[in-house]
Structure formats: structure tokens, C-alpha cells
């Protein structure tokens, strides 16, 4: 069964600094990969997704992620963090079939300091 690991439970960065959130997946074939963001008390918003093709994926809010098959990773990056980026970030994976549910990592909480 597929699984997702987000090694960092909590990350604190300074406003304006760069950000990288790590995500590793376990799945035999090429998975579909997603990053979602959840602001406090809010629902889940899709930041970006990878299905195939270019391994560098651009998302909303200035985020990007890179799929590295050799490392089974799909890390999320942002060159300059804004205070409004403080939230919980979830990496998720699904198989090819399309009807199977997303499997989520445990999330990384991002705090932004001035």
C-alpha cells in the first residue's frame, strides 16, 4: 500500500526566507502527488499536483515542487515566505486508478516569524 512521510512536524522560518518542505512516498509505480495547505480553522486548498511530464511543478501562491523518482520525493519549495503562508501543509499520494482515495502524510506545520 502506498504511504507518505513528511519528516518535519514543525518548521519555523523567517519572513522573506526560502522554504522547503519534505515529502517522501512509498509506492511501486509512478504515483499522482499532491500538496495541500490548510490554514487554521479552514479546509484543504490544493497548491499543486504532479501527474506526469515535467518534474518541476508550479502551483499557486508562488509554490513549486519537484518530483524526484530516484529519491521517491516530492518536496515543496517557495523562494520567499510571507507571513500569510503560516499553515499546515499536507503531501498526498494516490494510485493511477483515479477512484482510490488520497493517502495523506501527517502534515508539516509552518510558522513564520518576523
Amino acid at each position: 500500500a502506498q504511504s507518505v512521510t513528511q519528516p518535519d512536524i514543525h518548521i519555523t522560518v523567517s519572513e522573506g526566507a526560502s522554504l522547503e518542505l519534505r515529502c517522501n512516498y512509498s509506492y511501486g509505480a509512478t504515483p499522482y502527488l499532491f500538496w495541500y495547505v490548510q490554514s487554521p480553522g479552514q479546509g484543504l486548498q490544493l497548491l499543486l499536483k504532479y501527474f506526469s511530464g515535467d518534474t518541476l511543478v508550479q502551483g499557486i501562491k508562488g509554490f513549486e515542487a519537484e518530483f524526484k523518482r530516484s529519491q521517491s520525493s516530492f518536496n515543496l519549495r517557495k523562494p520567499s515566505v510571507h507571513w500569510s503562508d503560516a499553515a499546515e501543509y499536507f503531501c498526498a499520494v494516490v494510485t493511477f486508478s483515479g477512484n482510490t482515495p488520497l493517502v495523506f502524510g501527517k502534515g508539516t506545520r509552518l510558522s513564520v516569524i518576523a
Binding site: 479552514q42 479546509g43 499536483k49 494516490v94 482515495p101 493517502v103 495523506f104
Partner: protein, 114 residues
């Protein structure tokens, strides 16, 4: 014109009560899900329905009973509520088939059992 809508947004109830959460999607998706997000923010799949038929039922207590009257609706009924049922419940939908999956989440229902 909300894509996936859940009601109610907040639900506070006493132990032992029975309650329902409703979910509706207007995206024409054929698969719907219920997820539970616990106090540690972990998102876990509970149920999955495809065209009104149950296809995934994770190890969820029998007190939880999903119902799908049509493929646009997936409701969750919970009997004999317990303190441990306190969580945020998210509904989601997706389109299946060979094309790449897209998942849309509702804004969540925060259930508090007192």
C-alpha cells in the same frame, strides 16, 4: 456555486446522541469520500462511494454509517456519539476513469462531543 458543500460547519453535541453530517457536490464527480482529521491534524480515509456504491470502508466503528442517496450526495450518520469522535470531518469528491484524478474537498465539519 460551492463545489463541495458540507453542513453543518460546526456541531456540538452530547455523548450518546445521534447526529448526521451532509455533503453535496455539484461537480458531476462519481466518487465521494469521508475523511476524519484528528486533533493531531492527521487525515484518515473513512469511506469511499462510487456511483452510490460503497467501495471502501476502513476500520471505522459500526456507529458510523454513510449513505449515498445519489452520486451527488454522501451523508454521514453517527450513532451513540463518543468523546473520541470529536474531530473535523471532510467530504471530498473526484472523477474516476483513465484521466488524471482531481480531488475537491469541502470546508469541513468540526464535531465536538461533550
Amino acid at each position: 456555486d460551492t463545489a463541495v458543500s458540507q453542513t453543518p460547519k460546526y456541531l456540538v453535541t452530547q455523548m450518546g446522541n445521534d447526529k448526521s453530517i451532509k455533503c453535496e457536490q455539484n461537480l458531476g464527480h462519481d466518487t465521494m469520500y469521508w475523511y476524519k482529521q484528528d486533533s493531531k491534524k492527521f487525515l484518515k480515509i473513512m469511506f469511499s462511494y462510487n456511483n452510490k456504491e460503497l467501495i471502501i470502508n476502513e476500520t471505522v466503528p459500526n456507529r458510523f454509517s454513510p449513505k449515498s442517496p445519489d452520486k451527488a450526495h454522501l451523508n454521514l450518520h453517527i450513532n451513540s456519539l463518543e468523546l473520541g469522535d470529536s474531530a473535523v470531518y471532510f467530504c471530498a469528491s473526484t472523477h474516476g476513469g483513465p484521466q488524471a484524478p482531481g480531488y475537491t474537498f469541502g470546508s469541513g465539519t468540526r464535531l465536538t462531543v461533550v
